[in-house]
């Protein structure tokens, strides 16, 4: 579905590459999680995929079609993005924020139609936040915001959904709830999900595939239980861990 081949990126006026030839595939209806330390290039990778930043070498394809020269409108119909942090300047209602996901389908000189409104309503129901519909987005909790943005990504109806640290500000219960929701959406709607996480345990619990990157290079790619090993964590994060099994689920635990 989504294929990256040898993607290189560097900032203007810099001499070192931030991305040093990243390649991986993400399959339809599955969750691919990017794992890597702070500053390893995860957000940069997402910005290259969405076209906000231009990679200087390599290729990104969706369904075997290169996306290099697509307009933002066409890109938005391929990728929906759930951004990392986010504060709108005006207190729009949750519903208004979700409706914005329809922007790429609405002409410059027109407004959302009845159909767009219905789609936004349905998406609110899908993620289970109908009750927040008229509440200002600035007055809801972090978890509720994340759900709103996921609903917005759903109304975009794009085959690929990109989520940058979707659970970074959430409590334990909300982390699990959001990840469950994402998994459900990927399965039911056949959406290709690519997300970044920091917790290797949650990554292996919820993803079909894990791609580990470290300072701009791919270190490992594959099934979570196969590649998340004591050795890999030691190499990438430089901390000692022990791997254990609980009911067939492998768990990584730091050794103090």
């Amino acid at each position: 579905m989504l294929n990256l081949k040898e993607v290189y990126f560097r900032h203007k006026n810099q001499t070192t590459d931030v991305l040093k030839g990243i390649s991986f595939n993400a399959e339809k209806g599955s969750i691919t999680t990017i794992l890597g330390p702070n500053g390893s290039g995860k957000t940069t990778l997402f910005k290259c995929i969405t076209g906000l930043w231009k990679y200087y070498k390599g290729e990104i394809k969706v369904d075997r079609v290169s996306i290099d020269k697509l307009s933002f409108k066409k890109r938005a119909r391929l990728f929906s993005v759930v951004p990392q942090e986010h504060e709108p300047p005006f207190p729009y209602s949750v519903f208004d924020v979700v409706l914005m996901g329809r922007a790429s389908y609405i002409g410059v000189f027109s407004s959302p139609s009845k159909k767009d409104y219905e789609k936004a309503e349905t998406a609110l129901k899908t993620v289970g936040i109908e009750h927040l519909k008229n509440i200002p987005y600035t007055k809801i909790s972090g978890g509720e915001r994340q759900l709103t943005l996921i609903a917005r990504a759903i109304v975009q109806e794009s085959p690929v959904m990109l989520l940058d640290e979707p659970i970074s500000h959430l409590d334990f219960r909300n982390q699990i709830n959001i990840l469950k929701k994402i998994k459900e959406i990927a399965l039911i709607r056949g959406i290709t999900v690519v997300m970044t996480l920091h917790d290797p345990n949650l990554a292996s619990l919820f993803s079909d595939k894990v791609v580990v990157i470290n300072s701009g290079s791919k270190v490992a790619e594959g099934l979570p239980k196969e590649i998340i090993t004591e050795d890999l964590i030691k190499r990438v994060y430089d901390i000692e861990v022990k791997k254990a099994d609980i009911d067939g689920q492998s768990i990584i635990c730091p050794v103090l």
Binding site: L52, F72, K73, Y92, D96, M100, G101, S110
Partner: protein, 333 residues
């Protein structure tokens, strides 16, 4: 509740305009105003050539309509600029657009009397906003404080240019430049009303059609792009249309500040931030506000106080209030 408020705001120009027609130095009863208007439009009864008729039809009515249209143009431009710059503290006056337009008008009055004044006003208004925007833009984002500062700089620059023009022109023309710069509707006539419709058709109408995009644009450049918006193109369109509206307004009645800042805020407080309703309601509320301010300016004393003074007297305290209320976040990114 919101719907009722919205309907009241939409209808307010009619009520305010109605009051404006019978208030004034020469007393005309409200009933007489109605009779005269009905007579003019439907020709139902004969009222003869009474002086009230000339006052209402030839003097007050064009003035009220012009004030309404200028108010709508200025607050429409204000709401648009606040949206695309994600900055609740800007309006055409603060960004220097009005000063740019004023300079275009001043050189036309002073030296280039064969060029349409609106054209020159537009050219320099666009230059002003482009400069203010370029100066404030760093690394693809326009933060709030730098934008206001660069607006102040641009405004000061064009005001200085206007002063040079005033210094150079002959005294006869100087008087008309000075009088017109203050911002007043005292010269309103039907011809001015006709010209103002250019602002409505080329400025207000496109903004009205594009209004929902302002929601998306106000989320910031990166997010709007990710949602599929051609940010650069739409920013150019929005700036172009709002500048056109301001240029036409300024060419007709000089610089009138603060309306574009205050009105969108008041409407946002009453009916919410969604631009789908905010934009048309700002047009209507801007019209009412300007008609009311103009009526006050011509009835408060025995002579016409320039309306720009009235709006500045209310606008400056309002700006301070906003600044204090929104505190630190108003200056942030």
């Amino acid at each position: 509740m919101k719907t009722i408020k919205a309907i009241l705001i939409l209808l307010s120009p009619i009520f305010v305009g109605w009051f404006a027609l019978f208030l004034g130095a020469y007393e005309v009863t409200p009933l007489m105003v109605l009779k005269i208007l009905l007579n003019e439009t439907l020709h139902i009864f004969e009222i003869g050539d009474i002086p009230e008729k000339a006052i209402v039809i030839d003097i007050r009515l064009p003035r009220v309509i012009l004030a309404g249209i200028v108010g709508a143009c200025l607050s429409g431009a204000g709401v648009t600029l606040q949206g695309i710059f994600r900055n609740p503290l800007v309006d055409p006056f603060i960004l220097g657009i009005s000063a740019g337009a004023a300079f275009g008008c001043a050189i036309t009055i002073g030296f280039l009397s064969n060029i349409p004044i609106q054209f020159m006003a537009f050219v320099f208004a666009v230059s002003a906003v482009v400069i203010a925007y370029t100066v404030a833009r760093t690394q693809g984002e326009v933060s709030r404080l730098p934008l206001i500062l660069s607006g102040v700089i641009v405004s000061a620059f064009f005001t200085a240019l206007v002063s040079i023009v005033k210094f150079l022109v002959d005294p006869h023309k100087l008087q008309s430049i000075v009088y017109w710069l203050i911002g007043s509707f005292s010269l309103a006539d039907w011809k001015a009303v006709k010209v103002s419709f250019v602002g409505v058709i080329l400025g207000i109408l496109p903004i009205f059609l594009m209004r929902w995009r302002l929601n998306v644009m106000s989320m910031g450049e990166e997010e709007a792009k990710a949602l599929g918006v051609n940010v650069l193109r739409e920013r150019v369109l929005f700036i172009g249309f709002s500048t056109l509206a301001v240029a036409v307004a300024t060419s007709l009645c000089g610089i009138i500040g603060w309306v574009g800042l205050m009105v969108p805020h008041l409407v946002r407080m009453l009916t919410g931030p969604d631009h789908k309703t905010l934009v048309p309601l700002s047009f209507a509320a801007g019209a009412s506000f300007m008609i009311a301010a103009d009526t006050i300016s011509r009835t408060l004393t025995s002579f016409d106080i320039p309306v720009g003074i009235i709006t500045a007297l209310t606008g400056a305290p309002f700006f301070i209030y906003l600044m204090k209320r929104s505190g630190k976040e108003a200056w942030g990114k």
